[in-house]
Each structure stands twice: as structure tokens, then as C-alpha cells.
Symmetry: C2
Subunit: 357 residues, 2 copies
């Protein structure tokens, strides 16, 4: 049989580059098959249903036309968007970029991408943003804004929205999460300070509306007891937010209470930064007068004066694992929800030393 494919014609075609991107039909036509067949030939999962020779013809045509499947049409048909939503408080908090990159790494290799939204810790905003994410047909949600009491999340779970919590968890809901081992981290910090000779150690706790806040302060109280240190309630101050400003406020409160603490375990690095601010104001020197330990090991802490001792959390891995879990739960919806506790480590710098004599 003689296929008429005069080479001149091809040259002519090439001269007139398609403005419109090639569609599946174009490919099918070029390969002399029906669109359905072309679809199968191009789809690895259905490829086996079609003649090997045909597959080659189709693929070749696709190649030549620079065919790119239209993911929107595909989504409409399959109601899968290859997209997941990522809900964080604020991208400019240095804690999150490494998490995001970890997530995107994993997503990318699975052909997924992430839609990121920032809630600024505003529940109204969070609700609206999640709604918009859902209307964009995200296949699942990775959420970093979980509160201990979070009706919205509960509601989403009832609607069978696939969710993985990151960095924070919810205790009573059975919802998969990926977090750092906060309790161990705080234990390490307290033990380190105790070994240095501190006996009056304070804790600037994070908001008790979050699991991280609660877990860390509970771990703090246990560690104090385990190390035989002074258990003075006045040594614990709660911050309303995980912010430098609130950290400073709590530090001032601590000082004004006259607790004579010689060391402070901050709920996180931002809170520790707040301590630094107060030290500067009040002419307190760290670590000579007061030692400080942070939590998270966010970037550039080694450039502070003094470089901040802190608990290192593998944020990139946290993100990667959360993404993997979400993809798994999309693939196998019935799978029992797992959760992960990633190991942390104490990072010694110069903000901790023996207490003043």
C-alpha cells in the first residue's frame, strides 16, 4: 500500500507552524487513527490494549506535532486535577519555605503541583481560601494551620476531603499528621541546661491552642521534674502567638515577675528572638546572665548575636513525608491513616552557658 507522504508537503507544513497547540484529534488524524485509539496509545496504562505498531505511529505523530495533552480537559473528564492545596499561616515565616520545597519536590516527581495559600491565622480567611482551593478541585490538602479545636477541619474530614496535617496535629480527630518529635526536643534542651548547672529554667510557651504549644510545654514540665529542677509555675509564661513580639512580651512578663530564671526554653525561634530584643533593651547579656534555647533552627540563627542554641527540625523532610502521605492516601483511599514523628536534634551554639555564679 502506498501512503502518500510527499516530503515536500511536510516541508511546507513545517513552514507554517501551528498557532493553536495540537490536540489529541490532530494527533489521531496525523496518525490515521481515531482519537480514542490515540488516547490509548498515549496513555501508559491503556497502551497495552493497542497494537504496538499503532502505538509507534501515534507517538511519532504526537512528537512531531509537539502534542501536549490538555490537563484541563483531562481534569474535567476524570475529575482529578493533579493539584493539592497547601494551607500555611504565612510564607514569610522562615519556617515554611523549607517545608514547601520538601512538599513540591515530592509532588513534582508525581506530576502534581501545589496551590499555596496564606491564612495569616485568620479563620475567616482560612475558610474562604480552603473553599477556593476546593472549588479548584484540589485532590487533597496539606494543612499547617491546625488548631486543637478546629471545627473546619472536622467538617472537612466528614466530607471525606483528604488531609494531611503538618507540623501540628489534632489529638482527638483521627487525621494523619507529620510532625517533629517536639517532646524529645524539649527534653534535650532542658537536659542540656540542667547539665550546665541551671536549676531555675523558664519556659516561654507557644499558644496553647496549638498542639505544638501544648506538647512542648507539657514536655517542658515533665523534663523539669525528671531532671529534679524547680517546678515553679511562675516560670512558665504563655505567648498568644508564635511571634517575636509575643516572645518579647512574655520575656518582659517573666522578668517583671522577678522569677530570677537563669535560662529560658522558648517555644520556638521567633519567641527566642523576642527575648533577644528584651535583653538589648534591659542590658541583660546572653548567655552570661540568661541562657536561651529556641526551637526549629530556622535560617540565619547562626548569625545572631549570640548564635542561638536551638532544636533542629528536618523541615524539608517533614514536607516531603507529608506530600508522600497525601499522595498515598489519594492512591489508596482506604488505607489506614498513618502518622509520622520525625527525629529532632539539639543544635548547640553560644546562647547557652553555665548560670552566673
Amino acid at each position: 500500500m502506498s501512503l502518500d507522504r510527499p516530503s515536500e508537503l511536510q516541508a511546507g507544513d513545517a513552514r507554517a507552524p501551528r498557532q493553536q497547540p495540537a490536540t489529541l484529534r490532530d494527533v489521531a488524524e496525523a496518525a490515521g487513527v481515531h482519537a480514542t485509539t490515540a488516547s490509548r496509545a498515549l496513555n501508559p496504562k491503556a497502551q497495552q490494549l493497542v497494537n504496538a505498531e499503532t502505538v509507534r505511529r501515534v507517538r511519532r505523530a504526537a512528537e512531531e506535532l509537539g502534542y501536549q495533552p490538555n490537563p484541563i480537559a483531562r481534569s474535567l473528564k476524570t475529575s482529578k486535577s493533579s493539584t493539592v492545596g497547601l494551607v500555611i499561616p504565612d510564607l514569610t515565616n522562615p519556617l515554611f519555605p523549607p517545608i514547601v520545597r520538601g512538599i513540591e519536590n515530592v509532588l513534582e516527581s508525581a506530576g502534581y503541583s501545589a496551590l499555596i495559600v496564606n491564612t495569616d491565622n485568620d479563620p475567616q480567611r482560612e475558610r474562604a481560601l480552603i473553599e477556593s482551593l476546593r472549588s479548584r478541585q484540589v485532590e487533597g490538602l496539606i494543612i499547617a494551620t491546625a488548631l486543637l479545636d478546629h471545627p473546619l477541619l472536622q467538617q472537612l474530614q466528614q466530607q471525606d476531603v483528604k488531609i494531611v496535617l503538618i507540623n501540628r496535629r489534632i489529638e482527638n480527630l483521627r487525621m494523619p499528621f507529620v510532625v517533629g518529635d517536639d517532646a524529645t526536643g524539649i527534653g534535650l534542651a532542658v537536659k542540656h541546661l540542667a547539665a550546665l548547672g541551671h536549676t531555675r529554667i523558664a519556659h516561654l510557651a507557644g499558644p496553647q491552642t496549638t498542639s505544638t504549644g501544648v506538647v512542648r510545654s507539657r514536655a517542658f514540665r515533665h523534663a523539669v521534674r525528671d531532671n529534679g529542677l524547680e517546678e515553679d509555675p511562675a516560670l512558665i509564661v504563655e505567648c498568644a502567638h508564635w511571634s517575636e513580639e509575643d516572645g518579647a512580651g512574655a520575656m518582659r512578663e517573666l522578668l517583671d515577675r522577678g522569677t530570677r530564671a537563669t535560662a529560658v526554653v522558648a517555644g520556638n525561634d521567633l519567641i527566642a528572638l523576642g527575648c533577644y530584643d528584651v535583653f538589648a533593651d534591659r542590658d541583660i547579656s546572653c548567655p552570661e546572665d540568661v541562657s536561651v534555647v529556641g526551637f526549629n533552627d530556622m535560617p540565619f540563627l547562626d548569625k545572631l548575636r549570640p548564635p542561638l542554641t536551638t532544636v533542629g527540625v528536618p523541615h524539608h523532610e517533614l514536607g516531603a513525608e507529608a506530600a508522600r502521605m497525601l499522595l498515598d492516601s489519594i492512591d489508596e483511599p482506604e488505607r489506614y491513616p498513618r502518622s509520622l514523628l520525625l527525629p529532632v536534634s539539639l543544635i548547640l551554639r553560644d546562647s547557652t552557658a553555665a548560670p552566673p555564679a
Copy 2:
């Protein structure tokens, strides 16, 4: 079977709670009109074509059913994805989060969202990622990775891809950009140092493959001349990357050349951070021995020792303006490409002082 559904809540209308999200047809049916009419009633632009009373009925039905238009179907029809691509080198570089938030702010209020990709400055990766973005039908691209010689961008422009450059520009291509006023910023820095009494001022230049690198070092040379300072080529060292590591390398080079500079204008904050590292190693004190000025005012610079004097760039605004420009050029494709130069300001902290006597 017992679905746990709060009976009071839905008592009124929805006897059969939809599992499937409501579609336009559902709304139309509920309102007793045809889908077309419902579509028009819901679409602000076509709303005027329909009876006010009907509009109310439709809207009410939509409200009650919790109708959310399916953006995928809409995209397929209109071939608009309401999505733009954002191409940055690395989200963990603190420079970018504020830019991203600025972009998302504007996008959000226009019903758009951003797909973010990190190139890690790898051209291969960049090409692949942009391709994947395009296959996701993004309506435009905001690009922060532009190099002076960037064939890919040129190629995209020829394909009529809508692009706005941010933070960096390309001089010969006519492509809209939004950048800070680098030249003025450097001028401010040099003038400040000159006023302090410095005469031998060094410049640790950023990569000359980027417009920012080139513009800043050109501005530096001009400023040195304008202020009547010493024009010694040995006082300028180029960094291969905008990184702390390269900054440290360049600082060492400068020291080893024996240039006896009393101040350095770093290409950006990261490079300035590299200087701090070298100072620590070599027992040089800043600002007593050497003054340093950074560029960008990334977060937490005020916590360094010493707090870094730098040039503040309005990153959030940069992002917002770039997003606006992109949306504009999507709306009005024929509009002449604008570009924006946003004002910067010198932020005085403690890393600059008079030269040693």
C-alpha cells in the same frame, strides 16, 4: 443506615443532601430556569441581560445549594485557567517570600492563583518547569530568574507567552519588568559611606550575568567617581553567585589583595553575610575596622551582630506590581509593555561608621 447529619441544620430544603457538588444545571433546575439563564444570572457581565427577579431566584438557589462554579469546566470553555506561573530560583532565599505574597495578594483578588516553581538556577530544570507550567495552561509567567543572556525567555516571547520579569530585567529584549531602583540604592550607600569619611570603598559585585549584578556595579563605579573617591579596580570583586559563600570568598579575595578598603558595598545581603563570616574568622571588627552595606533588607538583618545597614527594597510591592502588570497584559494583550522602577531607601543600622583613624 445512619448518616450523622445534624437534622435541624438541613431541615428546611435539602432533603437529599448532595454528595456531589451542585452544578449549574442543579441551580437552574432549583430556580426553575434553564442552565443558560442561570449562567447569565450568575455572571456579572451578562447579568443585565436577565430579569432582575430571575436573577434573585437564581442567586438564591445557588446560595442554598452552595453552588461553586467549576473552574475547570470554565477553563476548558474559555481556555483561561485563571492561573499564572511564578518562576523563582529558590523559595528558601528570604528575598522571595515577600515577593510571592505580594503577587498572591493581587492575584487572589482577581480570582487568579499562582503555580510556583523553583529552578535552583539550573537552566535545564528551568526549561522543564516552564514547559510543565505551560502545559498546565498558565495564562502568563512572572519570572525572577532572568539572565542577561537568556535564550529561553527570548523564545517564549516569540511564542507570545505573556511575561513579566521581576527583580531582574533583560536590557535588549523589550519585556516588561518590575525592579527596585538599584542604581539609586547603590548611590545612596556610597554617598553615606563617603559622608562618613571613607575614601577606599570596595564593591563585592553580584554575578555579571544578571541585570542586578551589572546595574549595581555600574552604579557603584559612577558613585565612586561622583563622590571623588579612589577608583581602584582592585576594589571590585565579582561573586559568581548571590550567596553567602561566594560573598565570603570575595571578601577573602579582597583582603588578600591587600587593598586596605575601609568599607564594602555588598551586591546584596547574602554577600554581606559572607563578609561577616570572614570578619569572624580573621578577627576583623565591623564597623570599627570595616563598614559594610548590604542590599535588599531581607528579614532579621536587625538581629545580626552588628545590625546590617542595607538598602531597603519594597519586595511586597514589587510582587504586587508585577502581578498587576501581568493581569493587565492578559486583559489588554495589545497594550504597550510598561516597566516599573520602584523607589528604594537606605536603612541605617550599625554596620557602618567612620573609618579607623
